[in-house]
């Protein structure tokens, strides 16, 4: 009886020491894996959005404005990528909206701003600490700012 008790006790201790560290580290690896997946989807979508921005920058440069039809075209391309809450603004250095009635002449600065929300399980990450992160399911807000010089 005593022997069995001793055996049981030993067995318990051994298994605890064997599994506890593994469990803790397994949890850490799982968290890191999900963090990695979340960041990866944001990164790849971000790239695709920037491609759309590149093509619209060429349009802005060559014609000096974006009218409502051009903006609707950009919005439909971004919607196809799954983005929501899209706002596109094109302004000159004085803050005037360049919409076709106002056109930036050759050599003028043009400021292009795109705000949208891309669907992603994103991570809130503190600026200085890699491990200070938390999950966020309501998408990732993206702001892409570009400045160019009119060539129209």
């Amino acid at each position: 009886m005593k022997k069995i008790k001793l055996w049981l006790k030993q067995k318990n201790e051994g298994s605890l020491y064997d599994f506890l560290p593994s469990l803790v580290i397994m949890l850490a690896v799982a968290i890191m894996f999900f963090a990695f997946l979340g960041i990866f989807s944001v990164v790849s979508l971000n790239e695709e959005v920037k491609q759309v921005v590149r093509s619209s920058m060429l349009l802005v440069e060559t014609q000096g404005y974006l009218d409502s039809g051009d903006i609707a075209g950009i919005e439909s391309q971004l919607t196809a990528l799954g983005a929501t809450d899209i706002t596109v603004t094109v302004k000159d250095s004085g803050g005037n909206v360049l919409n076709g009635t106002t056109v930036a002449p050759y050599g003028d600065d043009i400021y292009f701003d795109l705000y949208c929300t891309i669907p992603a399980q994103s991570l809130n990450q503190a600026a200085t600490n890699l491990f200070a992160m938390s999950f966020n399911n309501d998408g990732y807000e993206l702001h892409i700012a570009r400045k160019t010089i009119s060539k129209c």
Binding site: G14, Y17, D18, P21, S22, I25, M26, A28, V29, M32, F33, A35, F36, I39, F40, V43, N46, E47, K50, R54, M57, L58, E61, Y106, G107, Y111, Q125, A127, T128, N129, L130, A145, R146, K147, T148, I149, K151
Partner: protein
């Protein structure tokens, strides 16, 4: 007694070995996952910087419209000199470099304009420096390039080149082009803070360059 002790020792050492190996394997896995993660982040940063550089190169590619009308050559010069005839004088292109710096601040979402242009997040460690800003102005008739080189300090040199020429990143230059290369300190594996970065001073510096052809 001795037998018992032996069994005990054997058992003990076996258990220790098992858990130690397990922990080491898990730590190795963590290192691998972190490595893949950071590699992905660095790749993303690199491609987004390339994107910003290309956008900035193309944004400042204002040409002399007057010379274009006369010779059909695309010759880059400052936006306020578009109606003057191009000459190989750096006073015409200084404005291009000034514009480039302004545009880069917006396109890379840098924290401050003017030297030092800086950005801080968990990858960027500090100030962004312009290594090279080179304008290759191609004259089709004489088949020669006017090469204006700028760096962080401003204008460096004007040279005239013929034949095959290459940008500092090894890419061949075809026709009028703009090459720009910037460098910035990168935070290492576990995104150390600025203070640590300055104390150890052994950080990595990223150099990223992009050649963009100027076309109509």
């Amino acid at each position: 007694m001795l037998k018992r002790l032996k069994t005990f020792l054997k058992k003990k050492s076996e258990g220790m070995m098992g858990s130690t190996t397990a922990i080491l394997l898990w730590l190795l896995l963590i290192l691998i996952v972190t490595f893949i993660f950071m590699t992905t982040v660095y790749h993303a940063v690199s491609s987004s910087v390339r994107n910003a550089l290309t956008d900035s190169n193309l944004a400042v590619s204002t040409i002399s419209l007057k010379s274009f009308g006369e010779t059909q050559d695309l010759l880059v010069c400052g936006k306020s000199n578009s109606m003057t005839t191009y000459t190989d004088d750096h006073s015409l292109t200084d404005e291009v470099y000034a514009d480039y710096r302004d545009v880069l601040v917006v396109n890379m979402e840098l924290d401050e304009a003017g030297p030092p242009m800086s950005k801080t997040n968990f990858v960027y460690g500090g100030a962004v420096t312009v290594d090279y800003f080179i304008i290759y102005n191609y004259h089709a008739e004489e088949d020669k390039y006017d090469v204006f080189t700028y760096n962080e300090a401003g204008f460096v040199s004007l040279t005239h080149e013929t034949g095959q020429i290459f940008a500092p990143n090894g890419k061949r230059v075809y026709g009028t082009s703009i090459y720009s290369q910037i460098s910035f300190p990168v935070r290492g594996y576990f995104a150390r803070s600025d203070n640590e970065y300055n104390t150890y001073g052994d950080g990595i510096t990223a150099h990223i360059g992009q050649l963009s052809a100027v076309t109509l």
